[in-house]
Every structure is written in structure tokens, then in C-alpha cells.
Amino acid sequence: MRRFFSKTMKLGTIAFALLFVFSLPVTLLAHDIVGLGAHVGVHHDVGNLSNQNRSISLDPQNSLLVGFSFKLNAYFFFLRTGCDAAFVINRGNVLDGSDKIEHSSFSYLALPLFAGFRFPLKEAGEFYMGAGPAYFIGQGTIELDGGPSEDVETLSLGYGFVTGIEFKLLKLIRLYIEWEYFDARSEPVMNTEGGSYDNFHLDFSGHRILLGVIYYII
């Protein structure tokens, strides 16, 4: 836990420094500087159960993402943060009996911070590409074969990237499509192997596709 908070402090300092650097040229630019967006998206195979037990047949969990984004543009750089809440569309079902897990369903809150390059396409919009860390606050329910279900909660740090494109709809409003990928796993949270120790972790890794609208307030 101490290690986790030390990491959090370091990342917080880096994020603050980046925000400070980005805020400097803001006053020098005329438009498309600070944007607030809202989006929906999907995340397929939430939990990556088949990665933890490669012998299972799985009907993977799918989740609906609802969230907002905050984007700061400065020349050819951008910073993007926000928050995504993942809601279960269908839970994950293990189809054969080779694993103790019968069903799983996770929901989570993702807090990413990306920094990268933006490529403005004149009046049409822009293309952008960045990378960075993200925190995941996850909770879920695991139903074991012949046993009770167990609720789990965890906080994890992961890393990933974003690439997206914005199309101008109105003077200050743009439509955006983003592809995000994260690599993030929690510490072990429960026992699914029958041994004496916890082995099962929540895996937040995977691809997300988001579709949203962003409004540039400055």
C-alpha cells in the first residue's frame, strides 16, 4: 500500500508539472484550447478470464462505457484526462467445467491521463495520439462452481495509449472517435485454484472504442 501511494505521489507530481507547462501557452492561443467532452463506448472481454486460465471456453463479458473527457491543447501537444464508468452489458460465463469460476461480472471506474501529439487538420478537425497512466477502481462479483459468490474490490495502476480523431460539427463542437488500450492488473484478490492463497486478479487490460462530442470552451 505504501509503495502504491509513493507511486501515486510521483505520478501526481508529473501530472501537475505537465498541467503547469501546458497552461503557460494557453493564453497565447486563440481557439480549440480547452475542451470538455462526453462519450459512450464499449469494452469487450472485460477481465480477460481466458488469460488467467488458458484451457477454458469462455463467453466473455462486455461492458458499456460512459464518461467525460477534459482536453487541453497547446500547439501540437495535448493533455487528455477524464473519467469512464464501465457498466456490465453481459457477464462473463465459463462454458466448460475446467475452471472453478462459473460467472464473473466487473464494473470499474477508469481515470486516465494521456499526453501526446495532435495533428490539426485545418478546419476539419484533428488527429491525435498519446500515451500515459490510468487508475482503475474496480469491483466485481465472482461466482464459483458449486460455491458462494464473492465480491471483490481493487485499485490498480496501468499504462496505455490513446489515438483518436475529431471532426468539426459546429464552430466549437466536435465529434470524436477514440481507440484506447490499457495494460493493467490488480493484485490477487481471491482464491479460484483451490490452494491456500489468493491467485485471481482483476484484469482491466484491453481495447476500448469511444464515441463522443467535445465542446471547446476556450
Binding site: 509503495r3 488469460n51 488467467q52 486460465n53 488458458r54 484451457s55 501540437f76 501526446g116 501529439f117 495532435r118 495533428f119 490539426p120 487538420l121 485545418k122 476539419a124 488527429f127 491525435y128 495520439m129 498519446g130 500515451a131 496501468g158 499504462y159 496505455g160 495509449f161 489515438t163 488500450y181 495494460d183 492488473r185 493484485e187 490477487p188 485454484e193 490452494g195 491456500s196 492463497y197 489468493d198 491467485n199 486478479h201 484484469d203
Partner: protein, 253 residues
Amino acid sequence: MKRQDKMRRRIYILALIAFMVMPSALMAVTVNGAMGMYGGFAPSLGNDLQSAYQYYVYGTQSGVDGLNRAQDGYSTSAIERLIGFGGGIMFKLLLMDNYQFRLGANYTKSTLGGEGETLFGATPTTLECKYGFTMYDVPLTFGISIPFWKDIKIVFSCGFAYAYAKYTNRFIENSTTKHKGTFTGWGLPLVILIEGEYFITDRLALSSSLVYYRGSSKFIEDGSTSDGVTDYARINFTGYRYNAGVSFYFWSI
């Protein structure tokens, strides 16, 4: 010399002349070149870092992911996948403004993650783990370059890379027994690349790229024999790389 051999020699000479004349015909179309350098990061370098010893002795089906275990009364810490940092240089040949060949040379080394303490066995036994990964690769891709006015170029390309890597692992069981593995090998992973370039002058551009590698080496035998254990592993090149850098075009775009 036989008549047949003479004929064959003439065909070879004609083919050689045709091959040498071809570029002059190509020069009729727009040709440009660029070189650049970049740095970046690679989450999940070496993928799950699985090996036969880890599978059979420590009972993990998914390498480092499955090795993470915890129990009350035991001191454990998370072993995260490796995060690599690296850099590279590239050379690009652009034909007719819209098509490009890209040749790169990259170096990536694991810098964060891959270290921690876990448990294994029916009677929990502590296990200290440490992983390392160093990779050199030469990707060659062909793709479409889409220019947007004189400011931006967006490129989609794919191809393959010659990748050479060294993967190491070290395990200390119960603070006494030590096992280590060293795997050195090569592979030809698939490469898919998306790249954006922002021209700050008519020849100098800031670039950013996202690259996906997919593939692994053949099974490689452990090169460390001092521990008396022979391990086997595939070096897994699958993963993403995010790079940022600069490109310099030989001629104005």
C-alpha cells in the same frame, strides 16, 4: 561456351539492364526521402514472460500474471509486467507522395516492473522473481501516407520486423534455492504502424507513432546452466509501442 549458356547469359544481362533502368523511369514520379529519430515506451514488453519451468514448477498458466499470489501471514508484492523504454532511427522512401517504405532500427529495454515476491506450492513457499528483457529490431513496412495540405501527414503501414531479444528470469525459492534462465533468440513479428507527422517547417516534422508487433521466436533452450535446470521459452514480441520524435525530409514536401 554452349549456345544455351550464351542465351542464358544474354537473358541475365538484359534483366540486369532492365533492373538498372527501372529507377530512372520511377524518377518521373515524385520521390522523397526522410530520416528520423524517436523515443518511446512499450507496455507489457515480452508479454507474459512465460517459460516451461514456471508452468511446471510454479503452476502458472499465464507467466508473470498467474504467478501473482498472496496469503495472509506472508509478505508478497505484485510482480507487474515489464515496461520498456527505448529509441530508434528510421529511414523513409516516399513515392508519389502517397506511398511509403519505412525501415527502422530500434532498441528497447525493460526499465520498470518485473520484480516482486510471491508464493507457490501446496505448502506456501516464498518466491522472489526478477525478469529482464532487451530487444533490438529492424521493422520494414509499406503503407499509405495521406498528406493534409502542407502541415500534416498520417501514415498507415504494415510489414514485418527482424527482432532479436534477450529474455532473462531469476527465481529464488524460500530465500535459498536459485533458478535463472537466459533466452536469446530472434523472430519475424508482424508490424502494424500508425504514424502522424506535424511539419514545423517544410522539411522538419514532429512525429508520433503507434506500433503493434505480433509474433514470437521458436522455443529456445535456456542458456544458463549453472543452476542445473534447463528451461524452455518462446520470446514473445507481441505488444504495443508508442513513440514520439522528429523526421527530417530530404526535399521540401
